[in-house]
């Protein structure tokens, strides 16, 4: 049994929120630069160059790359041998989000009541928290910051097994086309396949935590990811929708077991502000 004080979690979450907003991951930056070298559209190259300059400047001055500093999602993997002390884990996480956003000059973008009184909570809380029990004595925190421009383009299809992979491809491409410039391409197209409807959506979200463009370990999935990426880039939407070959930098697919009657497919588009950071305590 290992004891972890939730105040450590609070401090870590505050730091991760700021770092995620100020410093886009190296793998994303590398993918952006590779795409810029390959892009044949002048407008596309211009946009990709500007995005690289913008992320470099944000890192330097420790300011958020994008004014939509997003909805905070925290994925917590708690080792079964961890004993949490010092208070409520979820309160600690939300306190960390509030501290990180207030002291980091990050925009509060959350309203407490979606329907009747859309008043801003003022510190970007509450976060969406997903907790999972895992073997061991570590506690891992993954903070994902998600902007609404791309999140609003999310779609779910409850396909039938007979429709299969062909329909999945069509649905993914259709989703990217419907989103077009609104989702802020170049995208990471995140696809969750299987489970129930809710599970498929969560898988798609988890797919955005992967290193950009790191192929899936299973060759069949990796092949489908590559094929989807080519289909998406054939749309010509391009960076910011100004035309070009780089509509997406990568496609990530995550799968789960599903029902004999089901083929759920969720598409969660990640805009070019790829923002996630993690730590193990």
């Amino acid at each position: 049994m290992r004891t972890i004080d939730v105040n450590l979690v609070r401090e870590a979450v505050a730091e991760l929120c700021q770092k995620a907003n100020y410093e886009l991951p190296e793998d994303f930056v590398a993918a952006l630069r590779t795409a810029r070298e390959k892009e044949v559209s002048a407008q596309g190259r211009r946009v990709l160059t500007l995005l690289d300059q913008n992320q470099a400047e944000a890192r330097k001055v420790q300011m958020p790359t994008c004014q939509d500093t997003g909805f905070v999602l925290v994925f917590v993997n708690v080792g079964q041998e961890v004993h949490l002390i010092g208070g409520d884990l979820y309160q600690a996480i939300n306190a960390g989000v509030g501290e990180g956003y207030r002291s980091g000059y990050l925009r509060p973008s959350i309203v407490q009541d979606p329907l009747f009184n859309r008043a801003n909570t003022g510190d970007n809380t509450p976060a969406v928290i997903h907790t999972r029990l895992v073997p061991g004595d570590q506690l891992t925190l993954q903070v994902l910051v998600k902007g609404a421009g791309s999140e609003n383009c999310t779609r779910l299809a409850m396909l039938t097994p007979a429709q299969g992979i062909l329909a999945l491809k069509a649905f993914v491409v259709e989703t990217v086309k419907l989103a077009g410039p609104n989702a802020c391409p170049p995208l990471v197209v995140c696809v969750g396949v299987g489970g129930t409807a809710d599970r498929a959506l969560l898988l798609a979200k988890e797919a955005s935590l992967r290193s950009v463009g790191a192929p899936h370990p299973e060759p069949l999935v990796a092949e489908l990811e590559q094929e989807l990426l080519e289909l998406v880039n054939a749309t010509g939407i391009g960076p910011q929708g100004y035309g070009g070959r780089t509509t997406a930098l990568a496609c990530h697919i995550e799968r789960a077991a599903t029902h004999i009657a089901s083929l759920p497919v969720a598409v969660n588009l990640q805009c070019h502000a790829v923002r996630h950071q993690e730590i193990s305590l």
Partner: protein
Amino acid sequence: MSEIETGETRALQLPLTDEVIKSLRAGDMVEISGIMYTGRDAAHLRFKQALERGESLPVELAGQLIYYVGPSPARPGTVIGAAGPTTASRMDIYTPQLLALGLKAMIGKGRRSEAVQKALQQYTAVYFGAVGGLGILLSHSIKKAEVVAYPDLGPEAVFRLTVENFPAIVLNDCYGGDLYTQTAQEWALPAS
């Protein structure tokens, strides 16, 4: 702003005259200077409610430009935080009414509805795009920012911005031209 050749960039001074608006075409690159106002979802809802009650708007929009942005807070000693555009389509439902009142231009990102595109033609107005997610670089063009209405809305308050050489591109002109439609036709590959 960039070493890449994408055509000439034209300097525009706010407020825009009809003559200038009529000279703009989808795809034109511009740099905008002058005074503009911010406004996004919550401010637009309040505009609509004020008009329904027969009240005047807290800022005179006739002849003006609205930038769809909710900036992040300014660090001490700076003018504004990150300040890139938000998705314009969420404002589509409010826009024709504002154009009828004399609003002349908007900056945002993403597609506009057919109703908005028609209203741009009817009222001789223009919709510009700024690069989404370019929060820091775009903030460098903003020289002054002051809240002029709805301070309780925080980042969604209406700010008056003084900008210099704010980089944008014409997305929808006053003749029905739409950059996104043009580029999609130009760049789409035949379905594989």
